[in-house]
């Protein structure tokens, strides 16, 4: 152990000058990134209706594949905004309504699970917290099911925001944290495009999954699937893309040296 520590210490001493290093600011890339951000942002605003219609068609295809009966509303732009604020473009009615007794039983089971997990000495605290983080929405949504049976409100919001809100945020993050860093432009643009594409695919799949679960398993499962992965999963995949691109940039910097 001691020898290992000495080696580590000596290895770190060699590159001590890193204390005053900084990253070179890529002004041209930053300007290009800003231009890309503005252009994509304007495109998104201009084509928000088409985006929703295209996505609704995709979701409808997936639902047809999953044998989920649904109504597809694709209205023209003149009534589009009014319509979209009322109901989502794809409408599904659940075939399963959980009886109250079952809901109370499920709440009980979830609470007991949380208590058992909390009491397990072998599980490390972060693992317990992740389990708690998954089980808490379950309880919240079961209570929601008691309070508002058969009213999956958040679907409106998710449909309105999915993909659309997250895209400007992805652009902002890439522009602020990736484009100014020294490294090949192609890596940055590919990373940004990949992240935007992933966000579109993910939001389409999420909506389809949520609607299928609404039909087959009722409001509770639908709400659980909607509530848990919403912004949280958006954050996780952005973090993955960020670390992936930064890793490539760091390697290219080292090669350049």
């Amino acid at each position: 152990m001691r020898a290992y520590v000495v080696i580590q210490v000596e290895a770190k001493r060699i590159s001590l000058e890193r204390g005053s290093w900084n990253l070179k600011l890529e002004r041209v890339h930053l300007i290009l990134g800003t231009v890309i951000t503005v252009v994509v942002f304007l495109l998104l605003i201009a084509s928000v209706q088409q985006y929703w219609i295209y996505q609704a068609n995709l979701v409808s295809d997936i639902l047809r594949f999953a044998k989920v009966p649904h109504s597809l509303f694709l209205l023209g732009p003149s009534r589009g905004t009014e319509f979209l604020n009322a109901v989502p473009p794809v409408f599904v009615i659940t075939k399963m309504v959980l009886p109250r007794n079952v809901i109370f039983a499920l709440i009980g089971i979830t609470l007991v699970t949380i208590l058992v997990v909390a009491g397990l000495p072998r599980l490390s605290p972060p693992v317990k917290i992740v389990i708690g983080f998954i089980l808490t929405p379950a309880i919240v949504n079961l209570i929601y099911e008691i309070l508002h049976p058969g009213q999956p409100w958040p679907l409106d919001v998710d449909w309105l925001t999915s993909g659309i809100v997250i895209m400007p945020l992805i652009l902002i993050v890439f522009n602020a944290a990736i484009f100014p860093v020294q490294g090949p432009l192609v890596v940055k643009v590919t990373g940004l495009a990949g992240c935007l594409l992933f966000s579109f695919v993910w939001s389409t799949l999420r909506l389809s999954l949520a609607l299928s679960s609404l039909f087959y398993w009722g409001t509770f499962t639908f709400m659980f699937l909607e509530y848990l992965p919403c912004a949280f999963v958006d954050f996780i995949y952005m973090l993955f893309f960020y670390s992936m691109v930064m890793h490539r940039l760091a390697i290219s910097q080292q090669r350049a040296e």
Partner: protein
């Protein structure tokens, strides 16, 4: 009620957003602004007399390693310019013998033994060491640290500026490969020192003395009657005392010191909770003083207040989640009525949370640790863990502040009224 909840959520999102912007400012400054040499360029030219205080409680495993490092230190040991005060703080293992052995072998090492002490705390041990420290500068190293040979030279250089009351060096974990937790803590340290502390130093804000790998002018410590022996965050407390008395702390990024970080989540939780309680008590003590200080310019006050609130943020985050659940259950479709709040919440979840990770990513890039960047997503469970611990720590500190400390203050005031000018502690 629903309006109140909406307002509370918006306030919480606004506070969190302010912290997000602060982190991005730090990231941008550290990553792209030119880093001035500052005092680091004359490290080794300015060599004041130094006392190094090392508190050790049951540290037989690491005591001799630290003392070996201090013996090998590249600092002139002639004319009593360099002394090491090794404190055996009520140890029940062989730490006492190790300390004595080194004191016998080297004239510049003094052994101080504390036994049957009334106050069993690190600051009390430090105060005991301070009574034997007579040099110009006093530096502190915990027992599990490994200062390299040039560390002291680099740390004392900023004291050439008479306004500098204290310094802080960079802490680098050496046992990062041991477990997943040590790897994550390594990332945390990298972001915290390489970006956060350095940016605060460069921007003229408030870099923090972290209790070890740093120190103060002895005259300043004497003017403050040493550390508050009852404080859980004596380091933060002393940092604010320095700034509130018109002095400053310097962060020296090149003064690296190596440590072994905890490798299991449970002890880490205990550590963070203790820091959280102490830091929050500092917030209760110093927040209003910082805002009203006549020595601090606007941005230093702003950053100082935000720094004091760092361990209050987990509570804010938890409150945000609870209010979000309340809105979700009792006032749907709440989000549709408050699309701006939704946008801000989403922005926080994505951009806001990423601010911290951006700091870590940039610091890994600067440290040329390419593979470590892959581990960023692993920081997420630990961040959730900290929210829970931080919330608990805030509640504990609030109870402590409103009960025990209030009672102690009242007792002290009564004692002061009975014996004005006498000892009140």
């Amino acid at each position: 009620m629903s309006l109140l909840v909406d307002i509370a959520i918006l306030v919480i999102v606004a506070i969190i957003f302010a912290y997000t912007l602060r982190h991005y400012r730090f990231y941008w400054d550290r990553a792209f602004a030119k880093q001035e040499d500052g005092s680091e360029s004359f490290a080794g030219a300015y060599l004041p007399s130094v006392s190094i205080v090392c508190p050790m409680k049951n540290e037989e495993r690491v005591a001799s390693r630290l003392l070996d490092c201090l013996v090998r230190m590249d600092y002139p040991k002639d004319n009593g310019r360099y002394e090491v005060i090794a404190i055996d703080d009520n140890s029940t293992d062989s730490t006492s013998e190790i300390v004595d052995r080194y004191a016998t072998q080297y004239t510049f090492i003094k052994a101080v033994h504390r036994s049957n002490s009334k106050i069993l705390s690190k600051p009390a041990a430090l105060n005991a060491g301070l009574t034997f420290a007579h040099k110009e500068i006093v530096l502190f190293f915990d027992a599990d640290y490994m200062p390299p040979r040039d560390c002291v030279k680099r740390l004392v250089a900023p004291f050439a500026d008479p306004l500098v009351a204290g310094v802080m060096g960079r802490v680098v974990p050496v046992n990062a490969p041991d477990t997943i937790l040590t790897r994550i803590l390594d990332l945390e340290r990298t972001g915290g020192y390489q970006v956060d502390q350095q940016a605060r130093h460069r921007l003229g804000l408030i870099p923090q003395f972290g209790g070890t790998v740093g120190g103060f002018r002895r005259t300043f410590l004497a003017s403050q009657n040493g550390f508050d022996a009852y404080h859980l965050a004596e380091d933060t407390d002393m940092t604010y005392k320095a700034y509130l008395s018109g002095r400053k702390i310097c962060y020296v990024n090149t003064a690296e010191c190596y440590e072994e970080v905890v490798s299991q989540p449970r002890p880490r939780g205990v550590q963070v909770r203790r820091w959280g309680i102490g830091h929050n008590l500092c917030m209760f003590d110093h927040a209003f003083k910082t805002i009203g200080s006549r020595f601090l310019p606007f941005w230093r006050k702003f950053d100082g207040t935000m720094l004091l609130g760092v361990y209050f943020m987990p509570f804010i985050q938890m409150a945000g989640w609870i209010l979000g659940i309340y809105s979700y259950l009792f006032q749907p479709p709440f989000y549709r009525d408050l699309l701006i709040a939704l946008f801000l919440t989403l922005s926080y979840n994505v951009v806001g949370n990423l601010a911290l990770f951006t700091e870590v990513g940039a610091s890994c890039c600067m440290d040329r640790r390419n593979r470590s960047i892959w581990l960023l997503p692993l920081m997420l469970p630990i961040t959730l863990y900290y929210v829970l611990i931080g919330t608990r720590a805030f509640i504990d500190s609030l109870i402590l502040h409103l009960t025990v400390r209030k009672r102690e203050r009242r007792k002290a005031e009564e004692a002061h009224e009975k014996h004005p000018g006498g000892e009140t502690k």
